[in-house]
Symmetry: C2
Subunit: 214 residues, 2 copies
């Protein structure tokens, strides 16, 4: 554990954020929605109004929003926010990072007593549109983390998401429901991997991209 | 080296992307510009027209663009693209990841014979505006990488960028020139750290955010 840290350099007794986060049952996602249109505020606020965030702890600043709690509810809220923001023809991107187990994490800033179905699942399950997605997985504190990453690449292949290695990331493509389901399975795999105490999964997906690919 | 990998799980002989990237002198940045307005295409293409990208290898897909070459030229091109895209009052974000030393990296897809001044430096040096920025640094293959991360946090403090630890990232604020200069110094520190064979620095900065912070 000594050598583990999050991107902020936690778990150093001499630093302000030192902590014992790897033992905490808190999953989180820091994300930002980017609707590329003049009324981006209406789209984001309108989506927030439709999305039930009662199952997660939430905090928003000028750059991003973070949801924290149980993975299933965190993922449900992030996915619902993106799906509820969808507008035919509007180019929109979602950038985020799922994470759990940062040694510098603190108890609190989370909702952990929620049980039952994810509150948005039924409402968004029929929203379908194609997305492009790139992801970069960083399992920390696991000498064999390369094996976890390989598992995840093959998982994308098995799920028909056509993974491609691009510089600095893995690219996948598919229906937004399948891509989110895959990202959640990657998180579940990391959270249940005995050797992974801390992981970060960076992802960016977009829809209605005007860029044509060859 | 055996245990090193990039986010795509490279450096596995049994995987298609296996390679010896840690020895390559290629720095890169994969990034996306998000102008939150209807004419986002004009802003991006207009900025590209103003930006000299002759010192880097470049590839664009539906999600992002990647520049590869020598760090100084890669950073110069990314910074210039963001600065040239700036419009007073237009909310815009830049998401990116600087990286070097991925064991799965391949020679080629780069410009390495460029010398002399960065082509955009003089043209953009007088463009100033405040930005918010969050960053997450992942030095890989260094048992003591926590020390590198701590150095970087204190560096932000020394440079007056007011670093704050937020869940899953570090937040800094300042003039766009100072924030870019800091990000480049972080990359330089990683690229010259004897124990760091591979690093990834994720960052997101934005300007003209409508979100007021307390």
């Amino acid at each position: 554990m000594e050598k583990e840290t999050c991107c902020s350099g936690c778990n150093r007794p001499d630093l302000p954020w030192a902590g014992r986060g790897t033992q905490l049952p808190i999953s989180g996602c820091r994300f930002t929605l980017y609707p590329m249109c003049d009324n981006f505020i209406d789209i984001i606020l309108g989506s927030l109004k439709k999305t039930d965030t009662s199952a997660v702890w939430s905090e928003t600043d000028a750059l991003s929003t973070v949801y924290r709690g149980k993975l299933a509810y965190v993922a449900d809220a992030v996915q619902a926010l993106f799906l509820n923001a969808y507008r035919p023809g509007v180019h929109m991107a979602l950038e985020g990072q799922f994470s759990k187990g940062c040694p510098g994490d603190v108890s609190g800033d989370s909702v952990l007593n929620r049980e039952g179905d994810a509150p948005n699942a039924a409402l968004v399950k029929d929203i379908h549109f194609p997305v492009h997605c790139k992801l970069a997985l960083y399992p920390l504190g696991d000498a064999d983390y390369i094996d976890e990453i390989a598992k995840v690449w093959y998982m994308a292949q098995d799920e028909g998401l056509d993974p491609k290695t691009i510089h600095y990331a893995t690219r996948i493509d598919g229906d937004v429901q399948d891509v989110f389901a895959y990202l959640v399975r990657v998180c579940e795999l990391m959270e249940n991997a005995p050797n992974v105490h801390h992981y970060v999964l960076h992802f960016t997906m977009n829809c209605n991209s005007p860029t044509e690919e060859n």
